[in-house]
Assembly symmetry: C4
Homo-oligomer: 350 residues x 4
């Protein structure tokens, strides 16, 4: 039977994926405290529904840095979709396009960014990993992204080192991982192994990046008011509250718990998004209520992709969209503008 | 052996009911966070018992919108009692009457409201579902309710869409559901499928409803101070704090947690009731202490009905009544008037 | 092997007791929320140990209403010790005497209060149940207690009705319960069945009791500041913070959580004690820190009694005494006077 | 396969150790509330990572009472390493030296302090147990420590009695425990059995100790602001926040929960360290953020020692060091000076 929620997709994906791929996709860093907290924190927040509001028509269309999207649910960058389905990120992009939403393609995509752009009918962002020592390589990637029509650069800033995913590290399954498409034309400098060392960058690198492209810049991996303020002060266009799906520094806060301080610090000076743990339409509603303009979904889309390719990814997005529509209707908030902090009641810190 | 509490009735009901019916009655929306929270929230509240008070005589008689009842425990509207026992809502009504209490009959009752009224010896309310597009149909139902002697209209306001009950949706059991009695004489307009679209209404519809009947009006499904204030301002007679048994918007607060803000906002301007998770006499006492005039019991009565028809439903009500009497005695509050906020200690949010 | 803590005695007692007796002794009211909370609340409290204090000599001797005891750990009244061991309360009294501590004998003891007094070498209190309708009977019991040398009357005030112990009620085991010794000479008036109706009394009855005896009066079952204040104002000599071992009104607070408000309200005007959930020396220390002059132990002593008669009960008391000595030493509080509120850190309400 | 974290070492150690030794090493006092809380409290604290900081170079070198160490992770004193591996504390000392860190050798080491000093290449502290009645014996040990080059005396102050480790007490395994090396040359006075009576001392003994040696003095076992203030006032050089690994007074706070009040009370007047529950690099980071200059690791090192001798102990230290480096990098705190209270968010008590 066709899955009726994201958790059913997850269970099916575990059955169908090669164990090594399942372990890679699903694991979190170390003791997976943050991985689990991303979900638990959503469940701890209570919705406060208003009634007798006209919810005949639910309008969830918005824009991200000027690009219109049909819903505030976008696809988070994640690596190597080719391990989930043959078409890799091209399938994912078709799913995003079918729903009229945005996809952020990973530097480490199986398919090249040009192939993805050709498959996409919705807006695309290019997620960038680079380190202080690979500026030239990064610039080549950005030039390609500009040419291919990507609308923004989403720079990952939480990966100066790679978190240890221990179940993944323990996985004795062998799997012939597909190559990173973008690196075929632009191989990483041989002296630099990004996958081992991480993508260590500083504000200098961000300033450099800002100087070489006119694409809007989103920083992915902001979790504190302090860094959010710096982003706003330095003219960053968007802040993506993310803990890398619980895969980097274990025991950082759930993103939904970090979101309020980020949104408050930014105070409207740039757009704020969230990823991490989104599995239900009510999660999306909570994130919007606490200051996000949109959420990004990573693993959930991978589960759809693993189960039924583009169609599965599309269905996952449809499920989330429909659940969000139901949640907005039942909460009495038929438009995004009507969603404010009064929709939620947060627990005391924990 | 005869059950000695509601939980034993629940276990027996699960054994005896057709699986599809069990799933339908017992399920909650999505991840059932609210379904479970309805119970957990009651358990988190502590009672503060006074001693050496004269509790020889426990007086729990009260009135609901002027109708006297022998106890502040009434029967919540729930659909299709005919799936639980042959006599359906007529059996339930007899149970309510035997205890001298009030029953709110559902629009979606198996038996017609006229049959229920004939069986009832206690006061009745008529629970109404309608949408902006079915006013004419609703008016016909209300005229029938007036004629049949119903004392108030309990309008459900939390169901602009139907929440997804996923275990129920997954249930592969086939069951020949009985028809909705009220719709035999007054079929729903064929273009409108209320069960699919939900009962979307606005304050305009409430105003219309108020204009066409002089019956008192209760709004069922209020969970916030904001909506409670609107109710009071617009002359609504009663507010039923309800999350639809956790079946509509998942992750809304437990009703007992929402009750205080509703009661405070209403400030005595209309009556306040609660349903959701009531399984013990101590639950009733806590609800009264936090501002409810009475509680409504849905599933617990269905379990009694499923196990032993009218007699079972009656016994469930007797158990709750006796437990409430014991709780009032042991708490040193022999009258409803003596029950105030000092009876309970609430946890910090959560 | 000989048990090394109370929990091992409990496990052995469960093995050795007739199932009906085990169910009766061990059960709590309804959902056993309070029964479990009595333990959980102790575990939530943190000790704050001081170091480098001279703890060579631990002095835990004190007085209860003037009667010297070797330790602030006394035996709570509980019914029908004859179901645990042949000698019943005489065995218990010998255990108390061996430890130089006080025993409160229950109205519902298997052995008569005179037999118990003959066996005892430590001070005795007489726990009294009576109702407004059995004053004459109560007076006869009190006269006997005075003659037999009991030092105080501990009047149970939380039992206007009997809480429903549901596992006990469900127990299909048959057991030939021994008779209540005290009632052989003074049978309960036949029209009154105290066990069924409870012991409903009011302050009038307390005033009457005070008027007919010069024995000190302890009220057992106080859980609120309001009632504690009344006790102090009316010249009650001692207040025993008790929820009847979780056997009366379910979901009342753990006694250790209720103790602070009681102690604060009393403000030294009468003695304050606690029973409920005491299983460790650290529990005793926490109760003393939060305002108790002594704790009373019920089930723990019954487990000892069940396993090895007087010797078992004595060993349980020794274990608690030794654990308390260790806790006082390790907390740097070698005397009772040195134990104050700074020994503990309480969690926020829950 | 080689373990990749401390928990894998723990599991292997349990397999390889004699059950009696495993029970002895792993157990906590009584109900092990504090033992478990030591871990749980670390997991409850959230890290607040800063990004875009230059973390190319992580510098974790520091000093302890003037002795340089390569990292703020040292080896806590623990007894009888000879039960874990043939070379006992000599192996442990080699591991410490290999990592350039400090080891605190226990009075109850299997190897003599002189043998340990000969094996060590890093700085050593001598952990001292003594009681008021064994000053002469203690002085002989201190003189030996001075001669052997130990840099400080770490006096255990939380052991006036021995906590009851109940699984250990119940362990029926027989094991031929190795002797305490230091006592071969300096046997304990026969009338005094330190292991039975504990090491009861007072501030007088500390003053005496201070008077007989010029070695810096660290007090191990401080858990309160009150005692921390006394330490600072009396010129103690270092305070080790410790609950003896949950082996002494059960239900005291986790050390990471006690650390803030100690650090605040000391206010920089002496050095502050922590042991208890450290299993992850993030734990170390949290302790540093809350005021510790370094952490001490006991059981984790024993697990390494048990699995692979000196090499295993060294690997455990390497794992913790590397995890700390990753945590510092990912938290954007590349130096110890950059680690302050803003790195963590603590839950409300509890």
């Amino acid at each position: 039977m066709r899955p009726i929620n994201v958790f059913e997709y997850e269970a099916l994906a575990q059955e169908r994926l090669h164990p090594a791929v399942w372990d890679y996709y699903s694991d979190g860093a170390n003791d997976t405290v943050t991985l689990r907290e991303n979900r638990a924190a959503f469940e701890r927040i209570r919705l406060r529904p208003r009634v007798l509001v006209d919810v005949t028509s639910i309008d969830m269309a918005t824009t991200l840095l000027g690009s219109p999207v049909a819903m505030p649910i976008c696809i988070a960058p994640s690596a190597i979709h080719g391990a989930a389905c043959e078409d890799g990120e091209c399938a994912t992009a078709r799913a995003a396009g079918a729903l009229g939403t945005l996809m952020a393609a990973s530097t480490e995509s199986t398919r090249t960014m040009e192939e993805i752009a050709q498959a996409a009918t919705g807006p695309l962002w290019f997620q960038l990993y680079f380190s202080s020592h690979t500026r030239a390589h990064a610039e080549r990637l950005i030039r390609r992204a500009e040419v291919a029509g990507y609308r923004a650069i989403a720079l990952t800033v939480d990966s100066s080192r790679w978190g240890q995913k221990e179940r993944h590290a323990r996985s004795d399954a062998t799997f012939d991982w597909p190559l990173t498409g973008n690196f075929i034309r632009d191989p990483l400098p041989s002296a630099i192994d990004g996958a081992a060392d991480g993508a260590a960058i500083t504000w200098n690198d961000v300033d450099w990046l800002r100087s070489i492209t006119s694409l809007p810049l989103v920083l992915k991996g902001i979790l504190t008011a302090e860094d959010a303020s710096l982003c706003a002060e330095r003219g960053i266009d968007g802040v993506l509250v993310s803990n890398h799906g619980g895969r980097q520094l274990d025991t950082v806060a759930a993103t939904i718990d970090a979101l309020p301080e980020v949104a408050e610090a930014v105070a409207g000076r740039c757009e704020v998004y969230l990823d991490g743990g989104v599995r239900r339409g009510t999660d999306v509603l909570k994130a919007l209520a606490l200051g996000a303009r949109a959420v990004f979904v990573g693993r959930a889309v991978l589960w759809g992709l693993s189960v039924a390719g583009a169609e599965g990814a599309q269905h996952v997005l449809e499920l989330l969209r429909d659940e969000l529509a139901t949640a907005m209707a039942l909460a009495g908030r038929p438009t995004l503008a009507s969603i404010d902090g009064s929709v939620v009641q947060r627990p005391l810190r924990r």
